[in-house]
């Protein structure tokens, strides 16, 4: 009888301090519904439905997604792995790309369909990555679709712009398109150590090509534990290239893929960046081959998947906040 349940709810939540939770035993889905509507009407929050009890948080929980700046909210950006193969085989590559990696190419028709879903899901920006996207000779066709829809950034090692690829590159629109070029150090040593001999010189050359052709570029470094003073040297180097602050990205290696050291990441610890590959949708592009980070096998319907990811993020954040508040210093 829901009178008894409601009295139990009033008693249990009434004795609970705001910001903490209480378990109320329940019996069946009807009681779950009653508890949820009671909590909503009285300014409280059902945090989680366990097999028997329901966990109620005293007070309303501010949406953790609202606490994020708009551009960090899951679904603001959509990451797309156009392919996984690469001309390089960097030792820290988070998705173990190499010339022999399984290619997992998203063909143009499917790519266009994904962009359609992204628009329907109110995605604001597109990030294309791989592998090396420019390994696909017809990448330009995808870029035309993407840039017509949303501002698009392509992560690239900038080493493929020769011959036909260079011609196709030059024919691309400049609007809505940014190339984020990988460069790990100001001199060849560290860069080549992780990314292969001669790759530094080619990256510098690629930066020159993109700049000369009038493309907007951003230069991105991935630093491991051996970075030493690289960060400071890179900043000076970026100054020499006259890069604005928003054209510089310096980040740390994640412990994913080929990297055996670096920052540990998990769904509970990482703000999601929705990421589509030929194999499905992933929590974050930095972990697009880690089975624990895969959200669903199919990218459609994308809006539903983005909602799922947002809900899971909320659950993680709220659980962490409640946990933090339930271990006060004695």
């Amino acid at each position: 009888m829901s009178f008894d349940l409601t009295v139990r709810l009033i008693e249990a939540v009434g004795a609970t301090a705001a910001g903490t939770t209480v378990m109320v035993p329940l019996d069946g889905p009807d009681e779950v519904r009653t508890a949820a509507s009671w909590a909503d009407a009285t300014g409280n929050t059902v945090l989680m439905v366990h097999p028997d009890p329901v966990e109620i948080y005293r007070g309303r929980i501010a949406d953790p997604i609202d606490a994020l700046s708009p551009e960090r909210r899951p679904g603001h950006r959509l990451w797309i792995y156009t392919n996984f193969h690469c001309n390089l085989a960097c030792d820290y590559c988070c998705v173990e790309s190499s010339p022999t990696a399984r290619r997992r190419i998203i063909e143009i028709d499917e790519f266009a369909a994904i962009i359609g879903e992204a628009i329907a899901a109110d995605v604001a920006e597109l990030y294309l990555t791989g592998g090396e996207p420019f390994m696909l000779i017809d990448l330009d066709e995808r870029l035309r679709v993407a840039t017509a829809a949303r501002p698009t950034t392509v992560l690239t090692n900038a080493m493929q712009w020769h011959g036909e690829r260079r011609r196709r590159l030059d024919a691309l629109p400049r609007d809505n398109l940014t190339f984020q070029i990988s460069l790990d150090s100001a001199t060849a040593d560290l860069h080549d150590r992780h990314r292969g001999a001669g790759s530094f010189a080619k990256a510098i050359e690629g930066i020159g090509v993109a700049t000369e052709l009038g493309f907007r570029i951003r230069v991105a470094a991935t630093l491991g534990p051996d970075a030493g003073t690289t960060e400071q040297e890179l900043e000076r180097f970026f100054d020499d290239l006259a890069l604005e602050p928003d054209q510089r990205v310096i980040r740390r290696v994640a412990r994913q893929g080929s990297a055996n050291a670096g920052l540990a990441v998990s769904r509970a610890s990482l703000i999601p960046e929705v990421c589509v590959t030929a194999d499905g949708v992933w929590w974050h592009p930095v972990a697009a081959i880690d089975p624990t980070m895969k959200v669903v096998d199919n990218w459609a319907p994308l809006r539903t998947t983005i909602d799922t990811i947002r809900d899971e993020y909320r659950t993680h954040r709220i659980a962490n906040d409640v946990l933090a508040s339930s271990f006060p210093c004695a």
């Binding site: 829901s2 009178f3 349940l5 009033i10 705001a18």
Partner: protein, 273 residues
């Protein structure tokens, strides 16, 4: 205590939730020209004594604690502010659905469940309203639940006990605060399907922030102004307002204490404890 800079507000710790509520209110005042701190008491008696002794500047009083404060100060105490919900508080008489009871007169000869003896809404006022309708203790069977004495009914415990008596068939009607009734109704139609409102009182005033007249208005004015500036539309404010059960702080309506004043006179309820 004259040199104390912060305004010191007393409140009664009727549940664990009182701590985060008052921490929230204190934080809200921290950036104002009237910063405050708070002290929690285990019952309203202690709190009123502390106010009279000057140990606190402001007491967040129930209606019963307010009348006692007023009387102990010869009518000079001042009520500063109140919740919007305190201006329209009512007592609700709840019986079983289909009992045929309708209106306060129908309670003659019935079993009436009442809450704690110091609860305005669940005991003192319902008795007064019954007397006013010509029904004395001799005309009914009282089923008494003194379950949260000292808290003046704040915990809602005695309301729930009285309701339980109705559901279990041990009483015909329970006199409870409208806040408890609303909380029960929030459980959906099923939660109150077996119950029916037999009678609801006219609105009366409930809690207020009480001060002695000796507290200079330079100290109270900015504090009250900042209190009244709390805004439901601002999420951080709304969190506190919702926990404390209001949408807006208001100036008090002293007329709303008339029925309780009459009730306490008629029932010879002591100004002390």
């Amino acid at each position: 205590m004259a040199d104390r800079q912060e305004v010191l507000v007393g409140a009664v710790a009727y549940s664990a939730n009182v701590v985060p509520i008052w921490e929230g209110i204190r934080d809200y005042f921290a950036e104002s020209s009237a910063p405050m701190d708070f002290v929690l008491f285990s019952n309203y008696e202690r709190q009123v004594e502390a106010l009279l002794a000057g140990h606190i500047d402001i007491a967040w009083n129930t209606n019963v604690a307010w009348i006692r404060t007023l009387r102990r100060t010869g009518g000079t105490a001042i009520a500063l502010a109140t919740r919007d919900t305190d201006l329209v508080f009512t007592t609700v008489m709840v019986g079983r659905a289909g009992s045929g009871l309708d209106g306060i007169e129908s309670l003659r000869g019935k079993q009436v469940a009442l809450g704690s003896r110091d609860s305005g809404q669940a005991r003192i006022l319902p008795l007064h309203f019954l007397h006013r309708a010509g029904i004395t203790e001799a005309d009914m069977d009282l089923v008494i639940f003194d379950s949260d004495v000292g808290k003046h009914g704040d915990t809602g415990r005695s309301d729930l006990d009285a309701l339980r008596a109705v559901v279990d068939g041990d009483a015909d009607v329970a006199a409870i605060g409208v806040n408890t009734w609303n909380s029960l109704r929030a459980g959906g139609d099923g939660a109150v399907a077996d119950l029916a409102v037999v009678w609801e009182s006219e609105p009366y005033s409930h809690c207020n922030f009480s001060v002695l007249e000796t507290l200079p208005s330079e100290r109270t004015r900015p504090w009250v102004e900042h209190l009244l500036a709390m805004d439901w539309e601002i999420p951080e404010h709304r969190r506190i307002l919702e926990l404390e059960g209001l949408t807006e702080w208001k100036l008090p309506d002293l007329e709303g204490y008339r029925s309780l004043t009459a009730a306490m006179d008629e029932q010879n309820i002591s100004d002390h404890w």
